[in-house]
Symmetry: C2
C-alpha cells in the first residue's frame, strides 16, 4: 500500500481518491487552500486513511501523486506543490489541456509539437511523470468493467521503473496487463492528449461517457 496524493477536488479527484482508499492506500487530497470544503467533505466521508491539505501538504505526503487538476490549472497547482516535494516522486498525469473558454467543442492549450505530459516532465526533471488514464472518463478510469470486453489504456513516460509501478497499480484497479499499451517515452503524451478532440465528439454523439478505444490488430502484412 502507498501514500498517495490526489491533487484536485473535482469529480475526477473524488472518484480516484475514493477508489484508492477502497484499495487500501492512504490518500491525501490536495487543493489550493487547507480548508477547502470539498476536500474536507471527501476526507470526512472516506474513513481513517483519507485526509486533506494544501497542494504542498499533499505533495509532501505522497509517494505517488495523481494530477487530477484541470489541464489548464495543472502547472499552477504543481508550482504550489513545490519542486522539492515533487523530486523523485511519480506524477501520474491524467489531465488534458481542454480550453472551454472559446465555446464548444473545446480546443487544447498545448498541442501538436508539445503536450502537458512533456511540459510537466520538462519543468520537474527530477519527478517521474507517467501520462495515463487521460483518454477516458474518470469513472471508467477506476472501473474498466463499465465498458465490457477488451479496451485499452495508454501509458507513457521516461522512467521504466515508474511505469512498471503505475502498471501494477492499474492492475489492482482492474486493468489487465494485456490491455495496457506502453507507447514509450513521455513525448507520446502528444498522441494521447490529441485523442481528446475525437473523444469529446463521441461523447456528444453517444450522450454518455461509458465508452473507450480498443486498438484491434490484424496480422502483419506480407512483405
Amino acid at each position: 500500500m502507498s501514500k498517495i496524493a490526489v491533487l484536485g477536488t473535482g469529480n475526477v479527484g473524488n472518484v480516484i481518491g475514493s477508489k484508492l482508499i477502497q484499495l487500501g492506500h492512504e490518500v491525501m487530497m490536495g487543493s489550493r487552500t487547507a480548508t477547502n470544503e470539498k476536500a474536507s467533505n471527501w476526507a470526512k466521508s472516506s474513513g481513517a486513511k483519507a485526509c486533506h491539505g494544501t497542494f504542498t501538504d499533499a505533495a509532501k505526503f505522497g509517494e505517488i501523486i495523481f494530477n487530477c487538476v484541470s489541464g489548464i490549472g495543472t502547472m499552477d497547482a504543481l508550482k504550489q506543490a513545490g519542486v522539492e516535494n515533487l523530486k523523485g516522486k511519480i506524477i501520474i498525469d491524467l489531465a488534458n489541456t481542454l480550453d472551454f473558454s472559446k465555446g464548444m467543442p473545446p480546443t487544447l492549450t498545448i498541442v501538436n509539437n508539445d503536450s502537458l505530459g512533456e511540459t510537466i516532465q520538462r519543468t520537474y526533471p527530477d519527478a517521474k511523470v507517467v501520462k495515463t488514464l487521460n483518454t477516458m472518463n474518470c469513472n471508467l478510469m477506476m472501473d474498466p468493467s463499465l465498458v465490457p470486453g477488451d479496451h485499452n489504456i495508454f501509458v507513457c513516460g521516461n522512467d521504466a521503473d515508474a511505469k512498471a509501478k503505475v502498471n501494477a497499480l492499474l492492475n489492482t484497479i482492474g486493468w489487465k496487463t494485456s490491455n495496457i499499451i506502453d507507447l514509450g517515452d513521455i513525448s507520446n503524451s502528444r498522441g494521447t492528449e490529441q485523442l481528446l478532440p475525437i473523444w469529446i465528439r463521441l461523447y456528444g454523439k453517444f450522450g454518455h461517457p461509458n465508452f473507450n478505444f480498443n486498438v484491434v490488430m490484424g496480422p502483419s502484412p506480407k512483405k
Copy 2:
C-alpha cells in the same frame, strides 16, 4: 457505378484506384501533369475503365473525387483541379496534414481549431466534402478484413445526402454500416485528423499498419 477521380499517384491513390476499378467504377487518376509516369503505368495495368490525366481532367471527369494527395499538397492540387470542376461534387478527403519536415514523429500543419476537411469545405463551399478513411492505412481502407472483427471508420460532412452516398460506397468496399460512425458536420475532421499522432506512434510500436480503433461502448450510466 460511378465516374470517380482519384487525385494523387502515390501508394494511397494506387490502392484506392485499383479497388474502385475492381468494384466496377470508371476511374481517372489525376496528377500535376498529363504525362505522369506513375499515373500512366497505373492506368495501363488497370484495364479499360482506368485512365489518367491532370488534376483538372480528373476533377472534370469525376462525379466523386477522392483526395489521395498528401495533406500538405491538397490545397494546391484542388486549386489545379479548378473550382468549377469541384462544384456540386462529392470530395472524399482522406488526407492528413502530416509535416515530416521537422523530423519524426510528424506534426500536423492544421490542427486544434481547424482541420484540412474544414479548410477544403470553406474554400470550395459548392463542393460536398466528406472526411473519412483518414484514420488508417490505405490497404485497410480498401480491405477492412485485414483487421479481424469489428473496428470503426469515421465519417463527417455537412451534406447528409453526400454522406449517405459515401457510406453506401464504403459498404461496397466491405465496411459494415454498424462499423461506420457518423460524427456529424465537417468540423469533426478536427477529431479524426488529430487521431493521427497516436496512430503514428502505434504504427511505430507495432511495426506494421494493420490495426485500427474500435470504439467499445458500455451501458449508459444510471443518473
